[in-house]
Amino acid sequence: MASASNHPVIRALLSLALVLAVGALFHADGAFFQWDTHRDMLRGVSVFGILACGMTLVIIAGGIDLSVGSILGACAVVFSLLSIHQGLPAAIAIALTLLLGTACGVVSGSVIARFRVQPFIATLAMMVFARGLAKFISGGQKISTAVQIPDGSYSYVEIPPVFDMIGARIAGDNIAVVTLVMLLSMAVCGILLARTTWGRQIFAVGGNEEAARYAGIPVGATKVLAYGLSGLFCAVAGICQAAQELQGDPEAGSTYELSAIAMVVIGGTGLQGGRGSIWLTLLGVLIIGYLEKILSINAVGEEMRLMLTGVIILGAVLLQRNR
């Protein structure tokens, strides 16, 4: 069965084309044909796309990461606290935030590899813990340019330039910086998966763990690396989220893990592990992004949106199913 229509990339492109056709049909007074709409869609999905990068690695390695949304929240809060309230230089704030995200991922990966805890459970624990951490660090309040002074009133500080830089658009206002960050993250993942030994090992571990072990692949280390990178991407996403909102919200990223998983799966990377690619994930990100955008420009009501999204997700997954 080597026919072209059986290739997952072809099937994902088919789903995307279908969604785009719907957009061309319901173009909302031409709004769908403006570049701004597409640019804004890409900006809107960027944070999810960055999370989906790490999720793709973890899923190919045969796991799942439920903690991405919470780690994003914790990282958004820490980045805002360090750069807005503490006034640290952007490079140091970014480095420390990336370190925190990676550390969270490494902890999950180590628990999974060392203690053989199921990924679902281990990352569920991290999901709860990291959300608590975000609330603890922020005191339950958004970390914004309003700084509370000891007498209980608030003073106002300037937003550090790094926030405007990451939240801005470049190339003649035509593309958001966060979108470039997403594409860069995907390129890194793509190279890692396709061109490195470690990339081949991650496929091997996800495909058949026992066989990989017998083949002398460091299964534990491979898993730790996958979750660690997922944590790193969460931190990148958290920084992007904070920069776009001009604040660190301890609730940021709630339920984002579900969107990230949906994007990976709709792209065609199977939850069984050992198969998939980052380019499929990019297509999955675009499918979901366009779907939401089309419903939004047409001002479709919330009830219809949820029902339509459910139906279309199911349809896309059925289309992707191996026959």
Partner: protein, 310 residues
Amino acid sequence: MRHPHRFILLTVLLATIIALPASGQQRRWTIGMSQCNLGEPWRVQMNADIKKAADAHPELTVIFKDAQNDNLRQGAHVDEFVRAGVDLIIISPKEAAPLTPPVRAAFKKGIPVIVLDRRVLGNDYTCFIGADNKRIGRAAGAWIAKLLGGKGTIVELKGLMTSTPGQDRNAGFREGIKGSGLQIIFEADMKWLEPNARREMESALARFPAIDLVYAHNDPGAHGAYLAARAAGREKSMKFVGIDALPHEGQMYVKQGLLAASFEYPTGGREAIENALLILAGTAVPREITLRSRVFTKDNLATGGEWLSN
């Protein structure tokens, strides 16, 4: 009795001597405060307001519990307060029906209960304190109609429309602008969340070249809309109005000039403690207290906002 005035003097003196140690004695009241969830900044603010008001009264101790959006857990918290023998309970319930039985049980045991913001069913509580979302929405509508001179195009970014505050802030607003020439050209449910508000606003901007004002059901929603308009370079051509007016959120946005106005949705924290003190002192309080609300604009922020007429 030859010297009645001397007798009176003696009595007063005696009474003072007896009363002195009593008033000097710190009567410590314990209040249990059950919050339905601390995931919303507004509820964090409510607890902070309660704490601030209670800190001014050394005779009060307040125990805070957070039910994390779980009705059963919140019910258990009320039971725990009863068993711990607190002198008064303040509860901001998650939902009316499941929390009515524990509140009733506490009230029947003789513990006064103040219900804050959301209601319980029936009459088994001491006092309800809350604001009126419909009234605030109506005031916002009337204020906006006046601001725009009775005509213009509006984008409405709604809170979760399956929640009562979202429905009331929508219905009140529609009443407030009724009869004016204001036209709502785009509306979307942003579920109280800033990233959603930004996405919906981007769609509105893509479709409509002329938008005069964005009315969002909360300040984060108005802020998200502002960020979208700024990214499109159109933030100067329209105004933004939000609701809640928390000091570090809506009021700050108004101060920074991002929002034209923010309408306060008071937490009632201070009023809860004031009424708790009255109840504990044996004074009767009204069964129903509707909080008044203020509108904050750049001009009146320094003077503490302007009270809305009821």
